[in-house]
């Protein structure tokens, strides 16, 4: 690739055809491909969820039998978690944005980056093959059921194992890039908050993922060879599986949410026209989350038969993990205070994030309280909690990013009005689906049950109707995004001060003709960035 060539063409025009994409080293192209991939799996798993909700329209059988229902919720959960939300924002927008934001021409190991993508594809293919003989364990693969069930658990768990490598390698790439490739003047205390969040996420990916990999290998060994790690008859312990699983999977919920928090920290100041409030607090709270999130996994196991002492310890620490999260929320609110707020589609998703994620986080605290969780565990309350944080949080954050960086990514403009209509439907639909589930849960409706008693019917029905509104919202959003109203985007339509906006939209393949030198924080609105050779 010749130097001059790579600056007068945008990365989208620099080569066409399958090979120019599938063998690219360009972080932007990889980010875009991840975005398409996670988008497709999101739609696939969403279809499964619509079927699940349709099944619950009436008690007893509505459209599928009990075993199919079990397969559907496993499919939904496993695909959403391992193919959509864990790689999710980090792999797509992390790849696209980190080099742009730190003033680099690519990530530090571009080939490794491509390799991560291939590994992701391999994991995805294994998942798709597994559809032929799907598992029925739920995305958590708990023993002893996952060892005893006649369904095929091995293929899916092996797929998760493979996907783990993609996660680890991407994490290493981002960590080293942020350490080594920051442009002159881009000190740690000027690093954009999205990069801080991606950095913390990467730490979690590198440190936690190996544990779930080994755990799932043990599970496979247990099924094939009867190793006995999780089998009491052989001196093993089924609860040990839960310890290992959640040692990864609690940090994993922060792998899901941290990059979205990073997005909110970028979008809010731009559309409030104010510097971010409490930069350091937000940056360090990401690190704090990365550290503390390793200490609370037992809150998923309060009724597993785990000892009373450890229950109390985990409950107490769980309350600590909410502190850095709350710090972020307060700082975002304060950033907006007396700002000149513009309600663009991207901003609306970010505002909804704050609102919905706060509900999700607070209900997490209810669940972290030992006595309440004994009642609420494995009910729809937990289902509602996780969807408020994962959809209300991560997915709304992702949508905010898709709208916000749309001009930069595609060099086009979408129709704000249509996008806002979609937002309203998605916001309303989402709440209609999941708010009733909090009530269902407190009334005692268990999760992952095919059948339910008639007194739960009304709330279940409301929840199912909500999915239809939500679905229409998604379709309108897609329509608005896939049919841009202008094929020409300005370099910086939202007047952001961050580096990625200081180049044409879409960016040239090698990003910066001259590596910029920073003299001020990228949140100082009104201060011009100085670009020198």
């Amino acid at each position: 690739m010749s130097q001059s060539h790579s600056f007068d063409k945008s990365y989208l025009e620099d080569g066409t055809g399958f090979k120019s994409w599938f063998f690219t080293h360009d972080h932007k192209r990889l980010g875009v491909m991840y975005l398409w991939a996670i988008g497709i799996f999101f739609i696939l798993a969403a279809i499964a969820s619509f079927l699940i909700r349709f099944e619950h329209l009436t008690p007893g059988q509505t459209i599928v039998d009990a075993q199919t229902y079990n397969v559907l919720f496993t499919l939904h959960g496993a695909v959403m978690v391992f193919l959509f939300i864990v790689p999710g924002v980090a792999a797509s927008f992390g790849n696209f944005l980190i080099p742009l934001m730190i003033g680099a021409r690519d990530v530090i190991f571009p080939k490794l980056n491509l390799y991560s993508f291939w590994v992701y594809c391999a994991g995805a293919i294994i998942f798709l093959i597994a559809l032929a003989a799907p598992a029925d364990t739920g995305w958590t693969f708990y023993t002893p059921y996952s060892i005893d069930t006649g369904a095929n658990v091995i293929l899916v768990t092996f797929g998760v194992f493979v996907l783990g490598f993609s996660s680890i390698l991407t994490g290493i790439n981002f960590i080293v890039s942020i350490h080594k490739l920051r442009a002159p003047g881009l000190t740690w205390d000027r690093l954009p908050l999205f990069c801080w969040a991606a950095y913390a996420t990467s730490l979690l990916q590198v440190l936690a993922t190996p544990v779930v990999g080994i755990t799932l290998l043990l599970l496979i060994g247990e099924r094939y060879f009867g190793l006995g790690f999780f089998d009491p008859a052989k001196g093993g312990d089924p609860v040990l599986f839960q310890h290992f699983f959640w040692f990864y999977s609690h940090p994993a919920v922060y792998i899901m949410i941290l990059p979205a928090m990073g997005i909110i920290s970028e979008v809010i100041p731009v559309f409030s026209r104010k510097p971010i409030f409490g930069y350091k607090a937000i940056a360090y709270s990401s690190l704090a989350i990365a550290l503390i999130s390793f200490l609370v996994w037992g809150h998923h196991m309060f009724v597993s038969g785990q000892s009373k002492l450890i229950n109390i310890i985990f409950s107490v620490i769980t309350f600590a993990v909410a502190v850095p999260t709350a710090i972020k929320v307060f700082n975002w609110l304060w950033t907006m205070y007396k700002g000149s707020i513009e309600l663009s589609a991207a901003m609306l998703y970010s505002l909804a994030f704050i609102f919905l994620f706060t509900i999700g986080g607070l209900t997490g605290l209810f669940l972290g309280a030992l006595a309440a969780d004994v009642h609420l565990h494995d009910t729809y309350f937990v289902v509602a909690h996780m969807h408020y944080v994962m959809i209300g949080g991560t997915v709304f954050g992702l949508f905010s990013a898709i709208h916000f960086w749309y001009p930069k990514m595609w060099g086009k403009m979408f129709d704000e009005f249509k996008a806002k209509i979609a937002f309203v439907l998605i916001f309303i639909g989402f709440n209609i689906v999941f708010f009733p589930q909090f009530i269902l849960g407190t009334l005692g409706m268990p999760r992952r049950y095919f059948n339910y008693s008639p007194e739960f019917a009304t709330l279940h029905q409301i929840s199912t109707y909500g999915t239809w509104i939500l679905g229409i919202g998604f379709i309108i959003m897609l329509y608005a995004l896939l049919r841009p109203i202008s094929n020409k985007a300005e370099a910086n339509p939202y007047k952001s001060a961050s580096l990625e906006w200081a180049m044409p939209s879409p960016p040239p393949t090698l990003n910066f003709e001259k590596i910029p030198t920073l003299t001020a924080s990228t949140y100082d609105y009104g201060t011009k960035l100085e670009q020198e050779a």
Binding site: H179, L295, S307, K308, L309, I310, I313, F314
Partner: protein, 93 residues
């Protein structure tokens, strides 16, 4: 960087690892009761440490690399400590 001197050093480290392997095998011939596992783990950890320090060049790296290299050990400790706290304080009825 790589000269005959470092090769010589690598060779010595290799000898040391071989020697520790002999000790591992030797120790396995005796029954130390409940100490069997700790002893085997101790020898294995020394070997891993030597590999990390010399073959993986940790010895020549800065503080940041040391933090990255040792933090996972701390996490492993947490994983074991919390799980063990559960297992040893559980009331089975």
């Amino acid at each position: 960087m790589v000269n005959s001197n470092t090769y010589k050093q690598y060779f010595n480290i290799w000898l040391l690892l071989m020697f520790l392997t002999v000790i591992t095998v030797g120790a396995a011939q005796f029954d130390f009761g409940s100490l069997n596992i700790p002893i085997a783990m101790l020898i294995a950890s020394i070997k891993a440490g030597v590999v990390a320090l010399h073959f993986m060049h940790l010895k020549y790296e800065d503080g940041m690399t040391w933090i990255f290299a040792t933090y996972p050990i701390f996490l492993l400790f947490l994983l074991i400590a919390f799980s063990a706290t559960d297992i040893f304080t559980r009331v089975v009825n």
